[in-house]
Symmetry: C2
Subunit: 346 residues, 2 copies
C-alpha cells in the first residue's frame, strides 16, 4: 500500500515540496535548493508533521552539502555544523527533527569518511534511508493496528485531530495511515475530523487527504467533539505525536490533551500513533518537553483576515502534552504498547 | 451600572440594530421596520444572544403592529398571529424567544383590550417592559455573583465561551455582566476568551466588548482551554445559557459541554449564568431540548473563506447540553442555585 502523492521529493540538489499552507484550495509544488529557504519553509509550516520535518531537514542538509563548493573535507564539515544549527533551530517540539539530525551526525562522525564526495554521498544515502524507514514504519504501524486493535468488525468510526497522513510523514501516515489501511482492507470507515484551530490542519489537510482517498468524513469544529461522542458511537480517537517521553506522556498538536479528557469522559479509547523516531527516552515525563509558542496572529487572524479586535493578545501554544493515564495505547511499528508505559533508552 | 452601548433600540415603528455579523471590524447600525427583515436578522445572527432574541422579537412584533393599517381589532389580531408564527420559527433553542412571545400572548388575550390603538399601545409597553426587566435581571445577576461567589479576593481570572455581554442581552450581560461588574468594583480581572467556532462570537464579540471596557483578556482557540487550565489558575468558567430545564441541564453555545468536561477534570468551578426567562420548567431534562442545526458552510468556511475542500460535510450543532452534574452553580437574578437542581413551574 502506497501513498497516492508525495509531499516531498528529493533529487540531489533540489527538494520539491507541496506547499501545505495553500491547501486545500491550491496544490502548488515549490522547488528548494537554498537551505535558508528550506528552514524557512519548515518554520512557516509549508512542510510540517513530526516525521516529515525530520525527512525535510535531512534532505535540506543533503541538498546544501551537494551544492556547496567546498574544496576540503574540513570546509564541508564546517558547513555541515552551520546547516545543522540552522535546522536545529527551526521548530523545538517534534523529536523526529532531532532524531534525523542525530542520524546525520553519526555519518559525519564516521572516521572512514575521508573525502568531500564521500561525505556528500553518505549524507545523501542516509537522508534517503531516513525517508524510506519512515515509509516502512507507517505501513508497519497500520498493520499492527489493523491486526490487534481494529480486527473485530467491518465498520469503524474514528475521530482524529490535526493531520497525520501522507502530508505529515514519509509514507501513508500514522493515525491517518491506520484509517487508510483499514479502508483499503474494504472496511467501512467513517472519520470525524477536528478542524484543528488555529491553522486548520484538520479542515485543510486531513479533509483533503480523505477526499482524495474517497474515505467518508465529517468535518467538525474542535469544540464539537463532546457533542459528537454523545450522539454517535466512536470506536476510537486516533492522533499522532510530536514527542513521547519515557512514561508515555505525549506532546501533540494543541487540542489533543483536551480531546483526550473528553474521550476519557465518554470511555472512548484514545490512541497515540507514532513511529519510534518520535520517542525521546532522555525525558522522563511530558513536563520536560519544550512546547513551541507561535505568533498571536495565528489565533487572531485566519487567511490574513482579522477575526478579533486588533491588538488582541493570545497565548498560542502550538502543542500540548497528553498525560499517559489518558492514553489507551501507543501504536508503533514495533507493536502496540499499553499502560504502564516504560520506554527504554533503546 | 449601565451598558456603554445598546445593540438594539426601539422607537415605535423602527428598530435600530447593531449588525453583529460585521463586528469587530465594522460597527454598523441598521434600521428595521419590516417584520420579515427582522426575522431574517434573527436567523442570520445580526442580532443574537438568548435574552436579546426575545427582546428583538417583542420589538419586531410591536413595530409591525404599529405600522400595520388594520381597520379593526380582529384584523390586527389576525396579523398578530402571523407575526407570532414568523418569529416563533426563527430559532428553536433559546427559551427567551418563546418566553417573550408568551408574554405578548397574555397581552393579546386580555379581554379588556377593545381597540386597535389599545392593542398597539399594550404590546409596545410590554415589549419595552421585557427589555427593562432583562436589563434589571443582568444587574441583579451580577450583584448576586459578586456578593456570594466572587467576594473573597481582589483578583479573579475567568474563562468564558461565546458572547454573554451587552451584545447578548438587554443590559450589561449575564456571564460577561458579572465580569464587567467585578471590574467596575475595582477588582483585578483577567478573562480567557474562547474564540467560539464556528461563528467566532468569542473572538469577534466578547473580545470587542472587553476591549471597549478596557478589561484585560487573552483570546484562545476553543481547543486550548485544557492547556490554559493546566498552566494558569482559573477561578471559574462562566457561561450563559439558551435553555435550562427542571433538573438544571443547560443548553448553550456548542462547545460549552466540552468546556464543562474539561473544567471538571481540572476541578475548576463551572457556572451557568442566566435570567429566569431562560428556564423551561416544562422540560424535565436536557434531552428534551431541541438543538438548532445550522448550515454546514459555517464550519467549512472561516470568515467567509473556504477552509476545507468543497463539498466537505459537517454536523453543525449550534448548541449542546451541559448535564447538571458538571455545573457547580446556576446564577440568576433570584440568587445562585446549587445541585441538586429542582426548578419549579413557578
Amino acid at each position: 500500500m502506497q501513498s497516492t502523492f508525495s509531499p516531498i521529493t528529493f533529487n540531489k540538489t533540489e527538494i520539491k515540496l507541496l506547499n501545505q499552507t495553500l491547501l486545500p484550495r491550491i496544490e502548488e509544488y515549490e522547488v528548494y535548493s537554498d537551505y535558508l529557504d528550506m528552514t524557512d519553509a519548515i518554520k512557516k509550516l509549508k512542510v510540517r508533521g513530526a516525521p516529515l520535518i525530520g525527512i525535510a531537514a535531512a534532505y535540506g542538509i543533503s541538498a546544501a552539502l551537494n551544492t556547496h563548493s567546498a574544496s576540503s573535507l574540513i570546509e564541508l564539515l564546517e558547513f555541515y555544523k552551520k546547516l545543522r544549527f540552522a535546522f536545529y533551530q527551526t521548530r523545538p517540539t517534534a523529536k523526529n527533527l532531532f532524531y534525523a539530525l542525530d542520524r546525520l551526525d553519526k555519518v559525519v562522525e564516521n572516521p572512514n569518511i575521508s573525502s568531500v564526495d564521500q561525505l556528500r554521498e553518505s549524507i545523501e544515502a542516509e537522508a534517503i534511508q531516513i525517508h524510506k524507514e519512515d515509509e516502512l514504519s507507517c505501513l508497519k504501524i497500520a498493520e499492527n493496528a489493523a491486526n490487534t486493535l481494529f480486527n473485530k468488525k467491518d465498520n469503524y468510526t474514528f475521530l482524529t485531530h490535526c493531520n497525520t497522513g501522507s502530508l505529515a510523514t514519509g509514507g501513508i501516515g500514522t493515525a491517518l495511515g491506520i484509517i487508510k489501511y483499514l479502508h483499503n482492507q474494504g472496511k467501512n470507515i467513517h472519520v470525524y475530523v477536528d478542524e484543528t484551530r488555529p491553522l486548520l490542519q484538520g479542515a485543510r489537510l486531513t479533509a483533503w487527504e480523505l477526499h482524495k482517498e474517497r474515505i467518508p468524513y465529517t468535518l467538525i469544529t474542535d469544540n464539537m467533539a463532546a457533542q459528537i461522542m454523545k450522539n454517535h458511537h466512536i470506536d476510537a480517537v486516533v492522533v499522532g505525536a510530536d514527542r513521547i517521553t519515557k512514561n508515555g506522556d505525549s506532546a501533540n498538536k494543541i487540542g489533543t490533551f483536551q480531546l483526550a479528557i473528553v474521550a476519557s469522559y465518554f470511555n472512548v479509547p484514545f490512541y497515540i500513533v507514532a513511529p519510534k523516531t518520535t520517542f525521546d527516552t532522555s525525558l522522563i515525563t511530558g513536563d520536560e518537553i519544550e512546547i513551541e509558542i507561535r505568533d498571536d496572529l495565528e489565533v487572531t487572524r485566519f487567511n490574513g483576515i482579522e477575526s478579533a479586535p486588533i491588538r488582541s493578545k493570545s497565548e498560542n501554544y502550538a502543542f500540548d502534552v497528553t498525560p499517559n493515564n489518558l492514553i489507551s495505547g501507543i501504536v508503533t511499528e514495533d507493536g502496540v504498547y499499553f499502560s504502564p508505559y516504560k520506554f527504554c533508552d533503546k
